[in-house]
């Protein structure tokens, strides 16, 4: 006879099962109606709190203007043509700087990810430059390019270029080796493998890297406009700050948030329409 271990003390529940939950499920989606509810709460609650606090008179309007004041300021800026001009100026700088960075960083990142030789050649220098904060280049850029559009666009360009290159490079790591080797045994050469297998495979990751780094471009355009600009959303905010127009600061911040969210959604849409195979 073998001795069996003593049973656990009776105070410990023997048959405790995980209770079902609609709210706390791990690694499971929540129901769509619930999802929409939370979406509206996420934006609605801060808005309502803002309206309540600012209208209650507890806080000085200089620190926290009411939504109505901000709305009126937005109308005024829009009607005078200042706000459209600011939006166009900022969006233009981001578009040009980001596009130039994307045109270089995407092929460069794919090539660095694909060929260990190119990676060994370029990764050290890019790795160092990446850690230099892009705004720290502003004095140099002003020295080299003056105070026109060029230094602002170049600031965005260098701020995006290195991060995007390294993120694209990293995504190439996830191309299964068997997929590349299969291509060789089907008679593919290295260039065909690069353009027809590696590139399509990492396209969803490239789109995602661009989406993330576009957010960084927004940070930089605002910084660039704080230094020297006649128009732009960052310029608008710094001017409003100088004249203590808190409502206009809010207008600038909210407009940036909305444009950023719109671009983010646009990229998600692009991902879903061009790379439907990558979705689960």
């Amino acid at each position: 006879m073998t001795s069996t271990p003593e049973p656990l003390p009776l105070t410990m529940p023997r048959t405790k099962m995980l209770r079902p939950s609609r709210f706390w499920q791990i690694a499971e989606p929540i129901a769509p109606p619930l999802s929409w509810l939370f979406f509206s709460l996420s934006i609605g609650i801060p808005l309502i709190l803002w309206a309540l606090i600012s209208n209650s008179g507890w806080v000085e309007p200089l620190f926290l203007p009411t939504p109505q004041q901000v709305g009126r300021a937005a109308q005024g800026l829009w009607a005078s043509g200042d706000l459209p001009k600011d939006i166009v100026a900022s969006v233009w700088r981001i578009s040009v700087g980001f596009l130039l960075a994307a045109i270089i960083s995407i092929p460069l990142g794919v090539i660095m990810g694909t060929f260990a030789s190119i990676r060994a050649l370029l990764e050290p220098i890019i790795g160092i430059i990446r850690y230099m904060p892009a705004p720290a280049f502003i004095p140099l850029l002003i020295l080299y390019f003056g105070i026109g559009e060029a230094p602002k666009i170049i600031l965005i360009f260098i701020g995006v270029l290195f991060f995007n290159t390294l993120m694209v490079m990293d995504s190439v790591k996830f191309v299964p080796k068997e997929l590349i080797e299969t291509t060789y045994t089907l008679g593919g050469n290295r260039w065909q493998t690069l353009f027809q297998v590696i590139f399509p495979y990492v396209t969803p990751n490239i789109i995602d890297a661009c989406r993330v780094n576009l957010a960084a471009a927004w940070q930089l355009v605002i910084v660039a406009e704080l230094i020297a600009a006649t128009e732009g959303l960052g310029r608008r905010i710094s001017v409003a700050g100088r004249f203590l127009k808190t409502d206009e600061i809010f207008v600038g911040l909210i407009v940036i948030g909305i444009i950023g969210l719109a671009i983010d959604l646009l990229f998600r849409l692009l991902l879903r329409t061009t790379c439907h195979w990558a979705s689960k």
């Binding site: 060789y184 089907l186 027809q196």
Partner: protein, 258 residues
């Protein structure tokens, strides 16, 4: 001789010195033959297949296909991996036609060949489907069709059914046999599954482990019509036992060994 391997050695560098993975491998596969190499894990069988495919280079020794020495991967040696290696952004049709596309075959020519091979693997109805919509067995059939569509001289298979459940595996074995009987494509397959090897092949190379070397060559005297019921017949079980014993290192039972 169609495929021949002479005095092949493969050594891998490891932290302390080097590790001999394959030792003096000599084998040959004739045109139209179905040959398996069976071995336990550690017998270097995957390494052997990679060398045949040209994805890795031998330390010494040579591999020749129709007399030409293998110096790298090429379309004359099709390869089917165990893992699913379909291109996820391509439809079944595009996957099967990809080898032809890489070699510059025109779209029209490609289309008709792709349809032929989809017919062969019984997936005509799934031409427009994406890999993620297919079951494991179907994916492997697409991978086989893709390898065949490039019309390789020899088809190399690395445990192609290793990831499938037992029923699907048996279906795929019968499917592969049928395909082989119809096309008489030369096939060299590696597997650890002795039953699979006996069922499919004309000849088996039994590999020993650490370092991998060829222990025996066993000729399988097969009936023409093979159905998986033969797996229960005595002659089949005898082959299976003999090879299993060889793999275990128990060679006390002499049998029909070439």
């Amino acid at each position: 001789m169609h495929l021949e391997v002479n005095h092949l050695y493969k050594r891998f560098k490891i932290r302390q010195g080097s590790l001999l993975v394959l030792e003096d491998i000599n084998l040959h596969v004739e045109e139209g033959e179905f040959v398996c190499a069976v071995g336990a894990s550690g017998s270097g069988k995957s390494t052997l297949l990679r060398l045949l495919a040209g994805l890795d280079m031998p330390t010494t020794g040579e591999i020749r296909v129709d007399g030409i020495q293998v110096t790298g991967p090429g379309a004359d040696r099709g390869l089917v991996f165990q893992s699913y290696t379909l291109y996820p952004w391509m439809t079944v049709e595009q996957n099967v036609g990809f080898g032809l596309k890489l070699r510059g075959v025109s779209r029209a020519e490609r289309q008709s060949r792709v349809w032929d091979y989809l017919e062969v693997v019984g997936l005509s109805n799934f031409a427009k489907a994406y890999p993620k919509e297919l079951s494991g067995g179907m994916r492997q059939r697409v991978a086989i069709a893709r390898a065949l569509a490039s019309e390789p001289k020899i088809l190399l298979m690395d445990e192609p059914f290793g990831a499938l459940d037992i029923q699907t595996k048996e279906d795929m074995q019968e499917f592969l046999l049928e395909l082989w009987e119809r096309t008489r494509k030369t096939i060299f397959m590696i597997t650890h599954d002795v039953e699979e090897a006996v069922f499919l092949s004309n000849r088996i190379y039994v590999l020993s482990a650490r370092p991998g070397s060829i222990q025996r060559e066993v000729i399988i005297d097969q009936p023409d019509q093979r159905h998986h019921v033969i797996k229960r017949q005595q002659w089949f079980l005898d082959y299976k036992d003999t090879i299993t014993d060889l793999l275990r290192g128990n060679t006390s039972q002499p049998f029909i060994v070439a």
